[in-house]
């Protein structure tokens, strides 16, 4: 499906746009400021559907800020102002007629440290479902099993669904949070350094999960870990001081970056 696109990128042209049929999210001239201080400047990129796109860059470069903007989490903070637009499947998410809670259901988000709710494993996964509409128990149970299976957690927790989620290990908790998000069947999953608080084994499991999930939805991953970005992502965007420096297929960005700044960062000469 993306063959034409991949051949286009092979010609080393800057890849910041996909045709609308391939693009899940498109960000157009997006600016964002915290209390008057600019955090994102004139970002334009589009994120391909059913692929993993990684945002990399030094701390404070704005990659998490961008991720939260896609979920409109900045709405909770009054001091944030923005301009430009972000389109999800062609709809402007900041348009007045946009239903924010529906947007957040369609764009799931997983945070840096696992944040399961203080309730049972079952209730954690059912949380988003209960917000939407009343489902018969049988149907809800099926969705929960499906979500936990998709998050590669079902076999580990199927015998203790009604135990507290806080008794799980960190890696299990993070997969539970992913399952919780999957249960409401989002189109896009945003992952904000999902493995940075986990041990290497748990990290590997999360990475494997990310690779498996792209057949179901579009993933956007923020990471500090270059190897991780190289291992799991299809496309990589390098951000620095709120600007998009380079964006292209991961292989190309890591092996043959167009810009010296990108190469410096990837090889660890700039932090």
């Amino acid at each position: 499906m993306l063959a034409s696109l991949d051949s286009a990128t092979a010609s080393q042209a800057p890849v910041t746009h996909f045709s609308s049929e391939h693009s899940a999210l498109s960000i157009n001239q997006f600016n964002l400021a915290y209390a008057g201080k600019s955090a994102l400047r004139d970002l334009t990129l589009s994120i391909p559907r059913h692929r993993v796109t990684a945002f990399i860059g030094p701390s404070g470069c704005g990659k998490s800020t961008l991720l939260r903007a896609i979920n409109r989490l900045h709405d909770l903070n009054e001091s944030v102002a923005h301009s430009g637009n972000i389109q999800l499947e062609g709809q402007d998410i900041y348009a007045p007629q946009m239903n924010v809670t529906e947007l957040r259901r369609r764009v799931g988000m997983v945070f840096q440290s696992p944040n399961p709710f203080p309730m049972s494993i079952y209730e954690n996964v059912a949380f988003g479902l209960r917000l939407q509409h009343r489902l018969p128990k049988r149907q809800r149970d099926d969705i929960i099993e499906w979500a936990l299976t998709s998050a590669a957690l079902w076999d580990e927790v199927k015998d203790r669904l009604h135990r507290s989620a806080w008794q799980l290990s960190g890696g299990q908790q993070q997969r539970l949070v992913i399952a919780r998000t999957l249960a409401v069947q989002p189109d896009v999953l945003l992952l904000d350094e999902p493995a940075s608080a986990l041990d290497p084994i748990s990290t590997l499991k999360i990475e494997e999960l990310i690779r498996n999930l792209k057949s179901q939805l579009t993933l956007v991953l923020v990471t500090h870990n270059m190897q991780q970005a190289a291992r799991v992502s299809d496309y990589t965007a390098f951000l620095h001081t709120g600007e998009l420096v380079e964006y292209g297929p991961t292989d190309q960005v890591f092996t043959n970056p167009r810009l010296q700044r990108t190469e410096n960062y990837i090889t660890g000469r700039m932090t």
Binding site: P118, L131, V184
Partner: protein, 469 residues
């Protein structure tokens, strides 16, 4: 020389300071234990059927009574002992100080009896006989008849006249209907005394006061205290929690919010009598007076809500404890990580859903901590209540079978005020002192029970969440 070497002085200080801390803890514990011991011994000892003594004085007079305590003579060498001699109708007094040097002989005859009567208080002396239906019973027969008659409920007791003799030979006729208890403590075994003791304690807990609060029980005061504290909690909890939610979750964290927060914290330090004055002015005279003129104008000028009552007292105490609940709840809300809030919102929850489903359940232990502190403060508060509705003797209980069952406008009794009144406003201060200790012990126990309930609830909610947060 190494200037970081540890000198003996530094080593000594380092060895000593944990002991200093431990000593402070020990001292606190010791004081607490001493307080409880005093209340338990003096308060519960009062209900024990004490031995009665018959003493012969150097003057030849014979006195019977319960030895209470000894004190040095005011001007001379030696000691005097206080006897509770009862018989106020005969002697005019019921207490007597006796110089120890004046006592020729002491004995504890087993036929000395102590009657609990109304009016005139206790009688100490001997039972000469019982007159019933034209028949005269004497000696053991009379005593057996008396104990059997007193075992019956009040309404079923037969008409009878008791013939009583004091130790100094005066006689007295006493109708059986005025007697509530008859004991011969010197003839009782330990088990019988124990039985009497538990019955006395039960009567203290379950009956109303007698003899201007110097006798009888404290049930209306227990009931009033607990009811008022419960009403206060019901009023203060929602207000406090909503205010804390506003301050922590909704308000912009700017200078005004900080100012409000400081104000709330300082309200907790306002003397409680000031709240009493506020309650009197605003609730009783202001709101109560207005309610009376609107709805109860037919009974004016006698006020219905325009005078102190249960509702106004609960409201005043709710106001008094509001800062405590706000501060505790707010601290609990601030401890909840933002990741939890964001997690809920990111799943498509609205702000209300996030608050109700995630934040509030996590804050329940903190709210309960606030309520615990509020209850502990409110149950012991007396000063403001004197202005807004507590009564020395409430004619009616605030809850009864008459519609609407809960009478918020009624005055009520309170253990704290009862204690104050018993200690300082009774006629017979000597008789009241043991009751003061017993009431104080009860007040401590009630606060303890209310607190334990809340602590148990908090523990329950924590366990339910399976966390230690």
């Amino acid at each position: 020389m190494n200037r970081f070497s540890s000198t003996p002085r530094r080593r000594l200080l380092d060895a000593l300071w944990p002991w200093l801390c431990a000593a402070s803890v020990a001292l606190s514990l010791l004081m607490l234990a001493a307080l409880l011991a005093l209340l338990v011994v003096r308060g519960l000892g009062h209900f024990w059927p004490a031995t009665l003594e018959e003493i012969t004085l150097r003057s030849g007079a014979i006195v019977a009574g319960q030895p209470t305590r000894e004190a040095p003579l005011p001007q001379a060498e030696g000691f005097e002992r206080l006897y509770f001699t009862a018989n106020r109708d005969i002697d005019g007094v019921s207490w007597r100080w006796v110089n120890l040097d004046d006592i020729v002989s002491r004995s504890t005859p087993s036929d000395l009896i102590r009657l609990e009567r109304n009016p005139w208080g206790d009688f100490i002396g001997r039972l000469a006989g019982v007159e019933t239906g034209g028949q005269l019973l004497r000696e053991d027969q009379a005593w057996r008849y008396l104990t059997q008659a007193l075992a019956l409920p009040q309404a079923e007791r037969p008409d009878a006249e008791l013939l009583l003799v004091t130790t100094d030979g005066q006689t007295l006729r006493q109708s059986l209907s005025g007697v509530s208890q008859a004991l011969a403590p010197n003839a009782m075994s330990w088990w019988q005394k124990m039985h009497t003791w538990s019955r006395n304690v039960w009567q203290f807990l379950s009956q109303g006061p007698r003899a201007a609060n110097t006798g009888g029980g404290v049930w209306p005061a227990i009931f009033g205290t607990v009811l008022m504290v419960i009403l206060m909690s019901v009023i203060v909890t929602p207000f406090g929690v909503l205010a804390a939610i506003y301050l922590n979750e909704i308000a912009h964290q700017n200078r005004l919010t900080r100012l409000v927060r400081i104000g709330v914290r300082n309200l907790a330090g306002v003397p409680s009598i000031v709240y009493g004055v506020f309650g009197l002015g605003v609730f009783v005279y202001g709101i109560g007076g207005t309610l009376d003129s609107w709805f109860f104008s037919d009974t004016l000028p006698s006020p219905t809500f325009g005078t102190g009552g249960l509702l106004w007292a609960s409201l005043t105490l709710a106001l008094l404890t509001l800062p405590v609940v706000i501060v505790a709840t707010e601290e609990g809300l601030a401890r909840i990580p933002d990741a939890q809030r964001e997690g809920a919102v990111a799943l498509g929850a609205t702000r209300l859903e996030m608050l109700v489903r995630i934040v509030l359940p996590m804050a329940i232990p903190a709210m309960l901590t606030g309520v615990i502190l509020a209850v502990a403060r409110a149950a012991g508060e007396v000063a403001p209540l004197m202005l807004v509705g507590v009564a020395k003797l409430a004619p009616q209980m605030p809850v009864d079978g008459e519609f609407p069952y809960l009478h918020l406008e009624r005055k009520f009794m309170h253990l704290g005020y009862h204690l104050f009144d018993t200690a300082f406003h009774g006629e017979d201060v000597q008789a009241a002192m043991p009751l003061v200790y017993a009431t104080a012990l009860l007040l401590v126990l009630i606060v303890l029970v209310l607190n334990l309930t809340a602590i148990f609830l908090r523990h329950y909610f924590r366990r339910q969440r399976g966390s230690e947060c």
